[in-house]
């Protein structure tokens, strides 16, 4: 076999350019595989590390575990590590100057919990002994305390009591005014207690059983979410779990476990849970995302992600095989004479095939190693880009990971690519009859006839004999050019289609987030158990918001529903309400905003009082976009229906008659955000229905001069006592728009990068085919010149050939790309409406790219051919 190695290596060295171009193709394919696999590994590692950083390094939490029965977990053979917390103690938050958050929930951590559970400290350390405490920073920011590391806190520890009954530490404050809600809860669950308490509804009390002094050792921003309560009355603080013996304790604790084999986490958790059935009221468990990310068996998310990555890898390998096969086919065709000669002197088919595979193996090894290196570099760049653009959006820092299996997978998949790429050319090489090599018939194609090479007279008339020869050559070399045309077609179609997808995303962001009328959106939630006169309170808070320094204009709204009878007023083909009723949205606007809107749509001053504005157009997206009116109402029409309100915490409907002052298709501010921007509605001033409460939250669209500053002002306002019981969620639409743009940029980088690399693999094939074919025909060209074709005519012939070749690729690729773009537009038209536009820019870029690739390759070959001596070229041996 030494001869075969020598033969292979020497031939590769003889055709350096083609060998290098093929290696580049393999390298790009390997790099793409490596990058996809490596980025998925990096992403998973990032998720795992983020989970450990924000939650902790455990796989499951068991809640309400009897402290005297811990051994069922702690002595389980599959439990590698565990820790215990309890959050049963509560103390008064005497440092608080705020009515809200009157309590501190003491969360006990043992030593292992300090390691296993995540706590984000801004200062100091976790407790290491009894008498030490870590406090949340909210104790200072929300409660106006001024505690620092090293300070001492006196905490009255006790129980919340109401009517002789202990209340859970997370329950809202019970006063005589809201005790009815609490009573209604216990009416069914504990009738005896209900009977005892129903007539006496005092405020709750706090019974202190001990006062403790704690030294502040640390201040935290966040702690493991599994270890704390989330309520409106307390803040969690971490204290040391004393070394008491829990063997006989009746306390219920939480246990956090890390298993030795996380893949069976579900099975182990179920076993443990069952073991507690006989000895307790039952324990519940929650598996963490860390368990899922480490591949616990029943996790579908992991499997789905792996499958997606596998599909992408198969696509890469398939496309690579498709183009790289052609490179080996060219290599074989160049050596047809040699293979024929080898066969004539006794080389077997197996030996011939082995030379092709040997070339593949050599190219594969070089391509794989360089591809892995390139893949690593690309991964490092991508990780840096993602962190720069997206770390705040992802709420995690992406890390670079390159486990050994990525390199192995890359090598394996590249080997598969090379094997399948060599298979057909190897068989073709083995089949070359020696007689054709002896005859020097390099263009062996028994099926070629004059009829098959016939060209139209139009070509001769338009382009002369050069055009005829160019056209005949393309027909002669159909198979050779097919792969390269397909490579270019795929690249063009993918680029045009994907560009349109990216443009679609950009248009959607622009449509959704760009509004000159507002740049913030706020929703207000109120807790009816602590807030009375919700409507007035809400209005008062909005008034305060509108007076903030950075708020220019505020458009408040409240929305609810108005039910109509379909038979009377409905458009039945649109509505599918089974009870035959449908509803219009009701937007309750401030009087000032309503007046402004009414004037805008043309309501006359005399009709302003009691005006009801109807905007009931509905857009149906589909193959053809249709716009309906949902009702048949006209201006001046009266209609009967029921307004949905809130009464004593329940929904109710109030019958009433309304009269349409104006029908319009001009929508109130924020319409595109309410109901997804496509619902019939009526607009009325809120004062009209001031007597009612409504079930939904109220909101506002805010125009500011500095969105970020206005957001901070609103958040600070909600921390004051005046807004107790109310919460406002502010959405910075400008910031969201900027975030979405960053997401789009990141997605673009990945998608375009993928398309460009796949296209480049195809381009290597294009360069190989064209340059080899030009060399192959060197004697033909020399003969043409020898019989009198001028240099100018010759160059023109070659340019015609590249024009025909490039035009064919574009003629197929561009329509496919446009079809993909159109299909994507229609696919997303249900989510948002963006009119389809021909992706002219990306089409133009594709035309230029194809012209450049094909033209440049042919030009280089042309320069080489024009330098050659005519007679020497003709005399050259066939081999």
């Amino acid at each position: 076999m030494d001869f075969l190695k020598t033969f292979t290596k020497k031939n590769m060295a003889r055709n350096k350019k083609r060998t290098v171009v093929t290696i580049i193709g393999v390298m790009l394919s390997a790099a793409l595989i490596c990058t996809v696999a490596g980025m998925s590994a990096s992403f998973m590692k990032s998720l795992r590390e983020n989970e450990i950083r924000t939650v902790g390094s455990f796989h499951a939490q068991f809640c309400d575990v009897p402290a005297d029965k811990l051994s069922l977990i702690t002595e389980n053979v599959h439990v590698e590590e565990y820790c215990i917390t309890s959050a049963n103690e509560i103390a008064l938050n005497e440092a608080s100057e705020k009515e809200s958050l009157p309590f501190i929930n003491l969360v006990r951590f043992d030593a292992t919990a300090n390691d296993m559970l995540a706590v984000q400290l801004t200062e100091g350390r976790l407790p290491e002994k009894e008498g030490e405490i870590v406090i949340p920073e909210q104790i200072n920011t929300m409660c106006n305390s001024h505690l620092a590391v090293g300070d001492t806190m006196r905490l009255p520890v006790g129980k919340r009591m109401w009517n002789g009954m202990e209340i859970a530490c997370w329950y809202p404050i019970i006063t005589k005014d809201n005790a009815s809600t609490f009573l209604s809860m216990i009416e069914e669950s504990d009738p005896d207690l209900y009977e005892k308490c129903k007539d006496t509804t005092p405020d709750e009390t706090f019974e202190i059983y001990e006062t403790r002094e704690y030294k502040v050792t640390g201040i935290m921003t966040e702690m493991c979410s599994y270890a704390r309560n989330y309520d409106n009355v307390s803040l969690p603080c971490i204290v040391w779990s004393d070394d008491r013996d829990l063997t006989d304790s009746e306390e219920l604790v939480s246990v956090y476990v890390r298993f030795d084999d996380v893949k069976h986490a579900d099975e182990y958790c179920d076993q443990i849970q069952v073991s507690y059935d006989d000895v307790s009221d039952g324990v519940a468990y929650t598996k963490t995302d860390l368990a899922r990310l480490n591949g616990s068996v029943n996790d579908t998310v992991n499997r789905t992600f792996q499958r997606i990555v596998l599909v992408i890898l198969i696509v890469i390998v398939s496309m690579s095989v498709f183009v790289i096969t052609n490179s080996f086919r060219i290599s074989v065709s160049e050596k047809e004479g040699q293979y024929g000669m080898l066969t004539s002197i006794g080389a077997t088919k197996k030996q011939i095939k082995k030379t092709v595979y040997a070339e593949g193996a050599l190219i594969g090894i070089i391509g794989t190693l360089s591809g892995i290196l390139l893949g690593i570099l690309v991964m490092l760049a991508l990780v840096a880009i993602v962190n720069y653009l997206m770390s705040d959006l992802l709420s995690m820092h992406m890390v670079f990971a390159f486990p050994w299996w990525v390199a192995l997978l890359t090598a394996l998949m590249t080997a598969i690519t090379i094997y399948f790429s060599c298979m057909i050319p190897a068989r073709a090489a083995a089949k070359i009859p020696p007689i054709e090599a002896i005859r020097g018939n390099r263009d062996y194609n028994a099926k070629l006839t004059g009829k098959k090479l016939k060209t139209s007279n139009m070509i001769r008339r338009l382009f002369g004999v050069g055009g005829v020869i160019a056209s005949k050559n393309l027909k002669r070399s159909r198979r050779k050019y097919r792969t390269t045309v397909v490579s270019l077609v795929l690249g063009v179609a993918a680029f045009v289609g994907l560009s349109s997808f990216i443009n679609l995303g950009e248009s959607a962001v622009r449509t959704q987030y760009t509004s000159v009328e507002y740049d913030l959106m706020a929703n207000m939630m109120l807790n009816p158990e602590v807030v009375e006169n919700g409507v007035e309170k809400t209005a008062s808070v909005w008034k305060k918001v509108s007076g903030l320094p950075h708020v220019d204009r505020l458009y408040t709204y409240q929305y609810t529903d108005f039910y109509l009878s379909a038979e009377a007023y409905g458009s039945e083909e649109v509505w599918n309400d089974p009870e035959g009723q449908f509803s219009l949205g009701v937007v309750l606007m401030s009087d000032e905003d309503f007046r402004e809107y009414a004037k805008k749509v043309g309501v006359k001053e005399k009709d302003m009082e009691n005006a009801v504005i109807l905007a009931d157009d509905y857009t149906e997206y589909g193959e053809k976009t249709k716009i309906y009116r949902l009702t048949n109402l006209s201006e001046g029409d009266s209609f009967h229906g029921e307004l949905e309100v809130s009464e004593n915490g329940d929904l109710a409907r109030k019958p009433m008659d309304l009269t349409v002052a104006k029908v319009t298709d001009v929508h109130p501010i924020g319409y595109e955000t309410l109901y997804g921007g496509n619902r019939g509605l009526i607009a009325v001033p809120a004062s009209r229905f001031a007597a009612y409460s409504f079930p939904e939250q109220s909101g506002a669209f805010i125009k500011s001069d500095d969105a970020e500053a206005a957001e901070t002002e609103i958040t600070d306002l909600m921390l004051t006592d005046e807004t107790y019981g109310l919460q406002v969620y502010v959405y910075n639409l400008k910031e969201e728009s900027s975030q979405m743009k960053r997401v789009l940029i990141t997605v673009s980088i990945f998608l375009y990068g993928f398309v460009i690399v796949i296209t480049l693999i195809g381009v290597t094939n294009v360069i190989n085919t064209i340059s080899t074919d030009m060399n192959f025909r060197a004697r033909e060209f020399a003969m043409l010149k020898s019989v009198g074709m001028s240099g100018r005519e010759f160059n023109r012939m070659i340019r015609l050939e590249s024009l025909m070749y490039g035009a064919k690729s574009l003629a197929i690729g561009l329509p496919i790309g446009v079809l993909i773009a159109y299909a994507l537009n229609k696919a997303f038209s249900g989510s948002f409406e963006v009119a389809f536009q021909l992706p002219l820019v990306s089409m133009l870029i594709s035309v230029l790219a194809v012209a450049l690739i094909v033209g440049f390759t042919m030009h280089l070959s042309l320069v080489k051919i024009n330098r050659q001596n005519i007679i020497e070229t003709i005399r050259k041996q066939t081999l």
């Binding site: 033969f7 002197i345 088919k349």
Partner: protein, 225 residues
């Protein structure tokens, strides 16, 4: 002793009106050690006949028996092995591998057989072919005559039963032609190798033991010199 027997050998291309009988029902035999020249005009079928004898083309009908073995009864693998061991083919256009040196081209049949060439034998052949000092030259570094001698050396390295030469001097000048023909004569006389040459050069034909004349694919004359 008979080394080659040809029985009713035919090679037909095309069908019907387009049928071409390149070799038409040819039968003859060759003794071991014989120097046979096959002559004929251009297109007479002599090269086709030679290729059929060498197993590089398949006949339409008929048999070729070399050392009693019907070569067209062999499968492809066996035929390839037969070619490398029993036949030495020399072509008009040398058909050397451009990437191998003179020495590597000569030892090619042995390399294909997985054998290690005897260095002394290789040295002797190189010397016989007058290629001493050019062992490491590539074909493009040699003249036509030198390349043809490499091709002869390759044909001789495995001591084949038959050497088949197709117009091997067609591309050479007079001096090279004489040298090449002499090499074949030496191989024939000294090594007792059977040599069959295709030629249109009557001077070469005169030096053979026997001359077969082919016309339109048929033997029209078979005479001894």
């Amino acid at each position: 002793m008979e080394i080659l027997r040809v029985e009713h050998l035919s090679k037909i291309y095309g069908e019907g009106e387009k049928e071409v009988r390149a070799v038409d029902d040819v039968s003859f035999s060759v003794e071991k050690g014989e120097f046979l020249a096959i002559i004929g005009a251009s297109g007479s079928g002599k090269s086709t006949l030679l290729h059929l004898l060498g197993g590089v083309d398949r006949p339409t009908s008929g048999k070729v028996l070399i050392d009693g073995e019907d070569i067209y009864g062999l499968n492809d693998e066996s035929l390839a092995i037969f070619r490398r061991r029993q036949v030495g083919l020399i072509y008009q256009f040398y058909n050397l591998l451009p990437v191998l040196t003179a020495k590597e081209n000569i030892t090619l049949p042995m390399d294909l057989d997985g054998q290690t060439p005897d260095p002394e034998k290789v040295e002797r052949i190189i010397s016989q072919m007058g290629l001493t000092g050019r062992e490491d030259h590539l074909p493009n570094q040699m003249s036509g005559g030198q390349q043809q001698r490499v091709a002869i050396g390759r044909a001789l390295i495995n001591d084949p039963a038959i050497i088949l030469a197709d117009e091997l001097t067609g591309n050479l000048d007079q001096k090279s032609t004489e040298e090449i023909v002499e090499l074949l004569r030496v191989a024939n006389k000294q090594n007792k190798q059977t040599v069959i040459v295709i030629t249109h050069d009557l001077e070469i034909a005169k030096q053979a033991d026997r001359v077969i004349t082919i016309s339109d694919g048929r033997i029209v004359k078979d005479e001894r010199n």
